[in-house]
Symmetry: C2
Subunit: 409 residues, 2 copies
């Protein structure tokens, strides 16, 4: 949570945190400006002090909504700096930042954050380190102070994710009803004009249903059928017809409109009847889900649940990614990840060496085992719920949607 | 255009271009992988050779759609690298990149591109430069090879922007019709239940109209009334009622769904009747628009049109940003910007020192003068069209929408 930032800066010996870049799509910036609808900004947070938000004059009113101290950057007159630098943009950018850093006492070990363009960022930070005596660029490589603070959510954040989850479940329900509202012709659902109902049609329905609920698809929803469902990140192929008897993996991870919190859930459906092969695999998936889910507990290392899941799947005879990092048939990914202002954030349930993420009170994370047989069986299946950890380390499931596989037509 | 990349690398003495990061929202990556729907990737482009795309096994089929040579990164077994590094992620990341760079001969002056996290990027590039003899990190600060290549569009790209423009105009028309479909009560439009029609209602209508056309709002549309219209980047205030006699600035800049090309246009409307003050200012705005637009020509420096626009506005007695960088009443921004995979890209019509952008055949850019009087008059107005430059340096306007100010009810 945000209140952890000063402690984290202290522990990591960071004097000043500087966040740069756009707001939208830049979750650290969004977090630090409290979702203010500005396009880009510079935020300076000195240890033990409130952040200061610097942005252009055209966005002064949006900036005020951050609740932070706002500085209108037009007063620095970048144009003149550029003139004085003879049009040299690196020189002008150094003057610009040096002026601001001097004014706000940005010195010592200064860590930089936010999503930025790789080249300009490299050039600017090198130049600033050279131009400003007393400033050392202190980059954090992973689990930085903002990602770490964001790994635990306050009640308001959990409430927003929960609400996004409620709306997302409505969209999943609407999509199932949409499919069911179509006639069956042979093994394919058809539209009023007799042409096949397609993945693309379902995706259009999903998009509109999301837009009506003020949710957006930040990245394409996964709605993949048959063999494609067997490849976890396959988005599905728009022209493919919706047919009975095949697994449909529906992984939907919308974001609050305008940038904000994500939800992330997956259900697998088979229209009409499912083969014994698919039913058996799904029964194992459900058993694996329930077995490991029952062991989830706050205060514990997240990676151990991936280990447990691999144990269960291997016992059932499925190959796992633990056994073979190139596995394509079996259990091929890790068990879950934090969800918040990014669809993938801390804590992870990965058991990779060095990963120490713990499920803590305030953690919101996905739990998503799956089985994939693109080659051998031409199917895939995944169940994904979002959970959070209460103050008393209990697990609460935020995903209120049945996981029935077969959709009767 | 893409075919310029090798020439640009040659001119700038770049041996290898490496693009990193996610695809969505990372326009350089989107460009280089031809919009393939993968989540993140590493792309290596050696001078004179086709790019190679490295990505995870779960996205192998999406990656194939790029048309590039694809390498499945699971073969590098990052997990083992992490084990060997005792869980040290920086060490493992260096091993990972060094292995790949050795395999593909990434050496010499290597420039890095793409939107990445500031801290990790800084740490990784420093570590790579240290760990790989013969590799020098060559950051480009501005107008990098990709941004420069993208500043001119091929016919297919222009076609996509044009189509997005056609659909955007439909949305603007639908929004005007939506407002007109409401009853007037006093000076406010009202809904069937008698409550005021609001900015928020109009924005919902806009979002649905966009979603139906497979367009998304990457950032909130600007739909601002009265005083808010006088602040160029004000998004508008959702609860505000739609009233007659006030300027409504409607600046809509949607993107093709899933990431892709943008369009960007602005119209200003006054419902019912406009005051003489507003009508006079709008007449000046139209005159200024037409005067400078008539002078637009391919092969010319873009900044000169900003200079001309300031001349015209100053002649009319408006303060301009040329006279005062902190101006809030008058003409307060620059005249236009390129539009493509980013809503703001090259070429710019800015006249800042050192800016040398030329309108070239294939350039697609906005032309958007405006007048703002948030304090003095409580209004604002802008007209924004998208244009492109033909092979023969003619200007073609892609914005087929009338600019009538007054909407009769």
């Amino acid at each position: 949570m945000k209140k952890d930032l000063d402690r984290l800066m202290q522990e990591r010996n960071i004097d000043v945190a500087v966040v740069r870049g756009v707001v939208k799509g830049n979750s650290t910036m969004f977090y630090v400006v409290n979702g203010a609808k500005i396009s880009h900004a510079l935020v300076i947070k000195k240890r033990g002090e409130e952040p200061v938000l610097l942005c252009g004059t055209m966005e002064r009113e949006e900036a005020e909504e951050s609740g932070l101290k706002v500085v209108d950057t037009s007063k620095y007159n970048y144009r003149t700096m550029l003139e004085d630098a003879g049009g040299d943009r690196v020189k002008a950018a150094v003057t610009y930042h040096k002026t601001i850093f001097d004014e706000f006492g940005v010195t010592g070990r200064v860590a930089f954050y936010g999503l930025t363009s790789t080249g300009p960022n490299w050039v600017l930070l090198k130049a600033l380190e050279e131009a400003i005596p007393g400033l050392t660029v202190a980059g954090e490589f992973s689990d930085d102070i903002f990602l770490t603070a964001r790994a635990t959510k306050g009640p308001e954040e959990v409430e927003r994710i929960k609400e996004a989850g409620k709306l997302t479940c409505e969209v999943v329900r609407q999509t199932v009803d949409f499919m069911k509202s179509h006639e069956l012709k042979g093994d394919t659902l058809v539209k009023a004009d007799g042409s096949p109902l397609t993945i693309g049609d379902c995706k259009s329905e999903i998009r509109l249903a999301l837009a009506k609920r003020k949710l957006i698809e930040e990245v394409d929803t996964i709605f993949a059928i048959g063999r494609d469902a067997g490849i976890p990140h396959s988005r599905g192929n728009d022209p493919d017809p919706i047919q009975v008897g095949k697994t449909i993996v529906f992984d939907i991870f919308p974001q609050e409109q305008g940038g904000g919190y994500f939800f992330d859930m997956t259900r697998t459906f088979v229209l009409g009847e499912a083969s014994k092969e698919i039913l058996d695999a799904y029964a194992q998936l459900e058993e694996a889900f329930d077995t490991v889910y029952a062991k989830l507990k706050g205060g514990e290392w997240g990676g151990q649940y991936q280990t447990m899941m691999c144990d269960v799947f291997e016992k059932f005879g499925h190959e796992t990614i633990r056994q073979n990092p190139q596995v394509r048939n079996g259990y091929v990914h890790s068990l879950g990840h934090g969800v918040g202002l990014d669809v993938h954030e801390k804590p992870t349930l990965s058991d990779f060496p060095g990963v120490t993420d713990v499920l803590e009170p305030g953690s919101v994370f996905t739990f998503e085992p799956g089985l994939y047989y693109p080659d051998k069986g031409g199917f895939g299946m995944r169940i994904e719920d979002v959970c959070y950890v209460t103050e008393s380390n209990e697990i609460v499931n935020l995903t209120n949607f049945p996981r029935d596989l077969v959709v009767e037509l």
